[in-house]
């Protein structure tokens, strides 16, 4: 969260994991229509985000499902349309392929094609990212796919405060939201407002580090890498934004920053071609064409699946060095 957003608020230090759990738990306490399901969810799911909730809320609110992502999401849509608010954990985001139809054609289109007859207050959690040597089918970053789907909102926070604030907004949203969590930042710590009324609206970016010469739009794990790179490059004043929401996208905040700096780096772990980066670049080009002083730079995965061997995973997965080089290339 930006200093601005946190000013005047009481905060406590939380990890991303705890912040997510806090957000889910508060919403479950506030609204008994919130219903959690996923594989091994009763034990907290793959990365223990929901640990303890089954004990607290019981089987009627927190359930293990069979290995049936299509049914989880498809039935989630049906349940959402008929009156409850399902929070479906897909675990590794790579599994979204199995239920992509239900995300794309049901969750995303139901309201529209029925002329507004039904809302779909469904939240889907998906755990992304490389770095654990989990190889090609458990390390992907797939949020660019989902952000492209009409009728779906998508978020991918990089800080504990954004994680909690967006989780609460996602669960409260009457629209379907896919919530992307990066598995390597669950232990990332940061200040989170203690006020239970605190939320982060869908579609608002933050300036995580202010600067004048280059704008970096960085997501998830790469937000940390970008801030590290920015501190490294002490002859350049770098501004770092966390878009937080992928759709809706806060174009204005990003374009405003580039209007000031004239330079843009986009750092995101998606495969580069047809990915998140290109949309940011294009929006900036549309809104701040005359301000751009140098070619934009993309930092991402160069269209490879994620390899297993640590030596190779390090090679293709971008880090602070890649961001630093990208900053240099804009100057």
């Amino acid at each position: 969260m930006s200093a601005e957003e946190l000013a005047d608020r009481q905060t406590e230090t939380r990890t991303v994991r705890d912040a997510l759990r806090d957000g889910i738990r508060e919403e479950m306490l506030a609204d008994d229509r919130v219903f959690v399901m996923g594989q091994d969810e009763e034990d907290g799911g793959s990365f223990e985000v929901t640990a303890g909730l089954h004990d607290e809320f019981g089987f009627d609110r927190v359930r293990n499902t069979p290995i049936s992502e299509a049914a989880q999401v498809g039935a989630g849509v049906g349940a959402a349309a008929t009156g409850i608010r399902p929070l479906v954990n897909l675990s590794f985001s790579d599994f979204i392929g199995v239920c992509f139809d239900q995300v794309m054609n049901q969750a995303g289109k139901l309201r529209y094609m029925f002329g507004g007859a039904s809302n779909v207050p469904l939240t889907i959690r998906a755990i992304e990212g490389a770095g654990l040597n989990a190889a090609a089918q458990h390390s992907g970053t797939v949020h660019s796919l989902v952000a492209h789907l009409p009728g779906i909102k998508a978020v991918a926070p990089g800080t504990p405060a954004a994680a909690k604030g967006l989780m609460k907004s996602a669960i409260r949203s009457e629209d379907p939201v896919v919530f992307f969590e990066n598995k390597t930042i669950y232990e990332r710590r940061g200040p989170v407002p203690t006020d239970e009324a605190f939320t982060v609206p869908l579609g608002e970016a933050t300036v995580e580090r202010a600067g004048d010469d280059v704008t970096i739009v960085a997501t998830q794990r790469l937000l940390g890498e970008a801030i590290a790179a920015a501190s490294d490059v002490d002859d350049v004043s770098v501004e770092v934004l966390d878009p937080r929401s992928l759709y809706p996208l806060d174009t204005e905040a990003i374009a405003d920053s580039v209007k000031k700096t004239g330079r843009l780096v986009v750092a995101d772990e998606s495969p580069l071609s047809y990915g998140f980066h290109a949309e940011i670049v294009t929006r900036v080009l549309e809104d701040a064409f005359w301000s751009l002083d140098a070619p934009v730079q993309r930092v991402g995965v160069p269209d490879t699946p994620i390899p297993f061997a640590p030596s190779q995973e390090d090679e293709v997965v971008p880090d602070a060095d890649d961001v630093r080089r990208a900053i240099r290339r804009t100057i």
Binding site: G78, D101, N105, R111, Y112, A117, S118
Partner: protein, 327 residues
Amino acid sequence: MLLIREFENRVRDRFADDEIPGFVHLSQGQEAVAVGACGALAEADYVTSTHRAHGHSLAKGLDPEQLLAELYGKEPGQSNGRGGSMHVADLEEGMLGAQPIVGASVPLGTGAGITAQVTGADWCGLAFCGDGSVAAGQVHEAINLAATWTLPVVYVIENNGYSEGMTHDEQHNIDDLAAMAASYGIPGEIVDGQDVEAVHETVSAARERALSGEGPTLVEAKTYRYRGHFEGDEEPYRSEAEVDEWMAERDPIENYVEVLAEREELEGDELTEMRADVEAVVDAAVRFARDADEPAPEAAYDDIFVDPAPDVQRHRNRMKKDGGVSR
């Protein structure tokens, strides 16, 4: 059944005359399944349907005028013209929606069952699906989930013997799809889909099971469609004789009229009056649909979200802008 039959007669004719755009799939021949099953439900029960949804929609109580206006793509249509024949829903009438993605009706029905179970409601879900659809993975997953969680749902397979132009044997290696119930440890019932009372009875019992906490039932209704897969289908895959035989021997309406007559439950001109009533209703629906306004083009940007995303307006405004380079 009379209403569905006559409604679809008009759809057939109006489509042939190019009054109705898009793709249209008629359910004629299958009326007893829709009416028997929906008749066994309460208003609060939710039904999910397929690309072949007119019968289910009317049987669940949707207004013929709104439904036909939807097929015409008109503003007062059931989905404000946004959906057409393949996408109608009316949550107040318990019509949770038609789903032309084959198989998708089934998880949606399971989802209704989840809501019913966790809210302790006194209603259930019923998912219609076709014989071809049960080859689809999501159908398997959704029934398995409902069985495992003992959800209050009834699954009705309308086995009309064909999937597009494909035959039963090209889709399955079993004769009776009800046998699939063995995978889920739930009852699998076979019912004559041309016998409206039999369907009603079977679905009533299944609904009873659902509401009393005994979980889902799989019902296979053996039936037949008279028209092609879609209007315009040349039907190379079956003979006219086959269709004629079903129409002559197994018509759900004719046979039921006979039954009622034998039982002396149809008096005097009752049938003639009913037919006249139905004619009047569908005539009115055609007039209504024809006369209705088209939806405003700009309304195409509504209803994507409850809380609109600025991105849609952004793109729209940029695309529609005339004139020179902006600085």
